[in-house]
Symmetry: C3
Subunit: 140 residues, 3 copies
């Protein structure tokens, strides 16, 4: 049995952004030497997400607008109970619940075992600072 | 360590449908010979889900109505930015975010290690065509 | 390869509650002897969740209010199709979809491999009775 760990750092220019990290994950699988196994990819922060969906910029605009409707950004101290702590990002914690913390993906013959359109994204909802993504691989 | 892979194909008659795949997953575990381990079950498509919830048709009606409220189907080209590509299914990508891509389930003594009501479902939000579900098992 | 299984029982005083189970999960990892691997933590019930987010009571108030807006509790028999079965908790099944069934976490050097604020929570949406959380560990 082999295990492998790698953390990558992202820093988005926008507060709300989507970054395709599929090739980073495949690179980690290559480095691990694992041919058959499972790969966990998770955000190490609680205001951002890892999810699998389409690499299409229009859809990402739709996601951003939709998440803003479901959990509006409102930095006022009275807008959310969480803001009594001095934070202004309660909405980002909610957006991350919709968009997931992590994905677990199959590794088959050394490759991400994906359907035709699956791509792994980092979803940032409170960015403009360094954030880490963890990749942990288990297999042989 | 053993690994096992199997893909199953579903084709729903309706655009929006829920299919209980629990026995397919247990069958794959039986075929794998794994007695203790983890089993990943994921949709290989980005407009459908794998999730665990109750096998109760009323609840499934409630889910369908609720998802339609949260992310309404609207095929018009101007309804979603994603539709500028010619697609008409932006809502299905959103519904799948709520209902998850995948589940990871424990295998104990060769069986799905489940609570009393847990059942695995394929949730289809843009169906009427062939879709694949991946089962990947790791254990011993 | 080692595998380890443990179930813990929770019983919340409120219908809707959040319980930090991080130390229970770390304790299970200690008991397993696994130094490198993956740890699945899932609710064994379909009206409660396991998720990772911030241990901040204001945020938990925000979550509760937000989930109530997205999927309102309404025990009337006509409020949800699921209630025709005699149940009154359709909303709890929906809240659990937003808040996830499970997390998969990395184990590195015998510890939960976490970012600075990650904590594991049990989210209860139909409590006041015994519920089980499953911890399954795979690694070496």
């Amino acid at each position: 049995m082999k295990t492998f760990r790698k953390a990558i750092t992202l820093h988005t220019r926008q507060k709300h952004a989507y970054v395709n990290v599929t090739s980073d994950v495949q690179k980690a699988i290559d480095e691990s030497g694992v041919r058959e196994g499972l790969c966990l990819v998770n955000s190490m922060h609680i205001t951002s997400s890892i999810f699998i969906n389409d690499d299409e910029s229009g859809l990402h605009q739709d996601f951003a607008k939709w998440l803003e409707e479901l959990a509006p950004h409102d930095p006022r101290p009275t807008a959310y109970a969480h803001h009594r702590t001095g934070e202004d990002n309660a909405d980002a914690h909610m957006k991350r619940q919709i968009m997931e913390r992590e994905v677990v993906v199959a590794i088959t013959a050394g490759k991400l075992d994906f359907g035709p359109w699956e791509q792994i994204f980092y979803g940032e909802f409170d960015g403009q600072r360094d954030k880490k993504v963890l990749i942990k691989i288990l297999g042989e």
